[in-house]
């Protein structure tokens, strides 16, 4: 669903290019500046590879973990139309994970290693999925607004420099736009439905607002890495810019439905053209990303159980693994 790599802001900038051959580096950067895509067998700086693996891997994990909170509503979806649509949506998310693990594998890390790092807690995934989807309305809010946020992020990243990731994202974005339509339609039905339905969706939105504000990550415009990563087209937009873009597109739509958001300071500043808001609690963000959220343990436990239960199947099908991974996209 979403992968905005969390980069440690304290590490020095120079470490990204330390020890790289200056000529090769210059040629690599010139290719990117010309808008060329980098392909799996091309030369690339070690840190470019590392950052991309981390970013794509986190994105893949977010898709597979992200299928869990919504997935629990498949068996409870009210009526055929919603049941079929939600099944298809969650299936897509699993498909996104498959595409993204493959894109990351082209950079040299195996799917198995990535999944092991996920279930051991070593690699991260989008923080939003550490919050519970308490009611049916939560699943609607997720499908609309989290997928909307994902689109903002993924559209930006699809213009990045790494070919297999960009192509995977183009396919993914096409599907995400269906998810967003489904989610929006679902929220509209609740927001214009019975008083009980309205209450459910307002309650879900109020609970999901802080994680949504966290979604793009803390402000990173001053991060020492940003400049290099933006030049390498690994990072395509600042977290603040993406958050602004999201607010600008969706807050008016939320208000149009007669729903409210739990931030009295949220308004468009007519002078700057940007949205003012109360800074979300970034201490909570850090706590949750480091394992302290309401659902971290549960999400990983479910994933771990799925991996353990499926182990006999994978073992039975085991074939000699290939050294070069063909990009799926």
């Amino acid at each position: 669903m979403y992968g905005n790599a969390y980069i440690d802001p304290k590490k020095a900038n120079s470490s990204l290019v330390d020890g790289e051959n200056p000529e090769k580096l210059a040629e690599f950067e010139a290719r990117i500046a010309r808008g060329e895509k980098i392909e799996p067998k091309d030369w690339m700086p070690a840190m470019y590879r590392k950052q991309l693996v981390r970013m794509i891997e986190q994105h893949a994990h977010s898709e597979i973990i992200g299928s869990l909170p919504e997935g629990t509503w498949i068996t409870r979806a009210p009526g055929f139309r919603r049941k079929l649509a939600l099944m298809a949506k969650v299936q897509d998310e699993v498909g996104h994970a498959q595409l993204l693990y493959n894109a990351a594998e082209t950079l040299g890390k195996s799917r198995e290693d990535m999944i092991n790092d996920l279930i051991s807690g070593k690699s991260k995934y989008s923080n939003v999925f550490n919050y519970p989807a308490k009611t049916w309305a939560d699943s609607a809010v997720i499908a609309w607004l989290i997928d909307a946020g994902a689109i903002v992020n993924q559209l930006a990243n699809s213009r990045g420099s790494y070919g297999p990731y960009c192509r995977a994202l183009e396919r993914i974005c096409a599907e995400e736009s269906f998810h967003l339509k489904y989610g929006h339609d679902n929220v509209v039905f609740l927001a214009t439905g019975t008083s009980k339905q309205r209450e459910m969706v307002q309650d879900a939105l109020t609970r999901w607002w802080p994680p949504i504000m966290h979604f793009f990550g803390p402000s990173d415009k001053d991060s020492v890495h940003s400049e290099t990563l933006m030049r390498w087209k690994v990072k395509m937009a600042s977290n603040d810019d993406m958050r602004q873009q999201f607010l600008n597109m969706y807050v008016p739509k939320i208000w149009d439905l007669g729903l409210t958001l739990p931030d009295a300071n949220l308004k468009k500043n007519e002078e700057t053209g940007k949205w003012d808001y109360t800074e979300p609690d970034w201490e909570e963000f850090k706590r949750v990303i480091n394992g302290g959220g309401p659902c971290n343990a549960e999400r990983l436990a479910v994933r771990r159980t799925a991996e353990e239960n499926g182990q006999w199947v994978r073992k039975a099908l085991l074939k000699e693994s290939e050294t070069y991974v063909t990009p799926l996209s």
Partner: protein, 256 residues
């Protein structure tokens, strides 16, 4: 030919058991979404579960045209004793071996039934059955590949598949529980009957089982799991329905 009241009654009974089977197995198999043993299989299983639910909807729609209630009402407001699914499909998903073997046994039965009904003189049903032939062909092909691959994988996977087969095979016979309408429906060329379905099924699944190097289970009491067709279910169905209808029941008159 003109359908008698008795034919209509028999047809509805047939359609209900087919639609209920499809809905419940689709629902069960959807429980694997995000939990499959490998991503590719997760996706395939989900896709087939969606097909099943789509097929059930198509059949509930025929029933609706015959005067029964809306598909959503029929699916989301009945309790277990009004369901006509077989006891095979309502069983919990268990481990992947059971779910896979159930999918194999069920999908062969389904494909055979749909194939037969493609020639039914009852046009609406014949059309639906023709329409879904492609999907069913994919489902049985998927089952074949997986049964074969896991039976030939290693000792553990072979044992698991055989054990799952031993458990699911007697349950699968409940798919062919004879109905009081079989004879009349067959004479009217609406449906050739459960006994005929079962004969073809035994031959076809038997071939796959033997080719995979597995054994066809011996069944001591073929009627052990009968009853689903007349609303007699295991303890697993009602909790499934409670879960399925949880949101719908918040307000069955609301638009969701």
């Amino acid at each position: 030919m003109e359908l008698t009241e008795r034919h209509v009654e028999g047809l509805k009974h047939l359609l209900y058991k087919m639609a209920d089977d499809l809905l419940i197995i689709g629902h069960r198999n959807s429980e694997w979404t995000g939990m499959g043993p490998i991503l590719e299989e997760d996706i395939a299983f989900s896709s087939m579960a969606q097909d099943k639910i789509g097929q059930s909807l198509a059949i509930y729609n025929i029933l609706h045209e015959m005067g029964e209630q809306e598909p959503d009402t029929v699916a989301f407001t009945r309790n277990a004793s009004s369901f006509h699914c077989s006891q095979l499909v309502e069983q919990p998903i268990g481990e992947y071996d059971f779910s896979l073997v159930r999918h194999f046994l069920y999908d062969y039965a389904d494909a055979i039934r749909f194939d037969m009904l493609s020639n039914s003189i009852f046009e609406p049903l014949a059309m639906v059955c023709k329409k879904f032939r492609g999907e069913l062909k994919y489902h049985t092909m998927h089952a074949n590949i997986w049964i074969k691959d896991l039976a030939e994988g290693n000792e553990e996977s072979k044992t698991r598949i055989q054990n799952a087969l031993n458990k699911a095979y007697p349950m699968a016979l409940s798919l062919f529980e004879p109905s009081e309408f079989d004879k009349e429906l067959s004479e009217a060329e609406i449906f050739s009957g459960e006994a005929k379905c079962r004969t073809i099924w035994e031959k076809e699944v038997g071939t796959v089982i033997l080719e995979a190097g597995l054994e066809i289970p011996q069944v001591s009491d073929p009627e052990e799991y009968y009853g689903g067709r007349s609303g007699k279910h295991t303890e697993h169905l009602q909790p499934l329905l409670d879960e399925m209808t949880e949101v719908f029941q918040i307000d069955p008159t609301a638009d969701w």
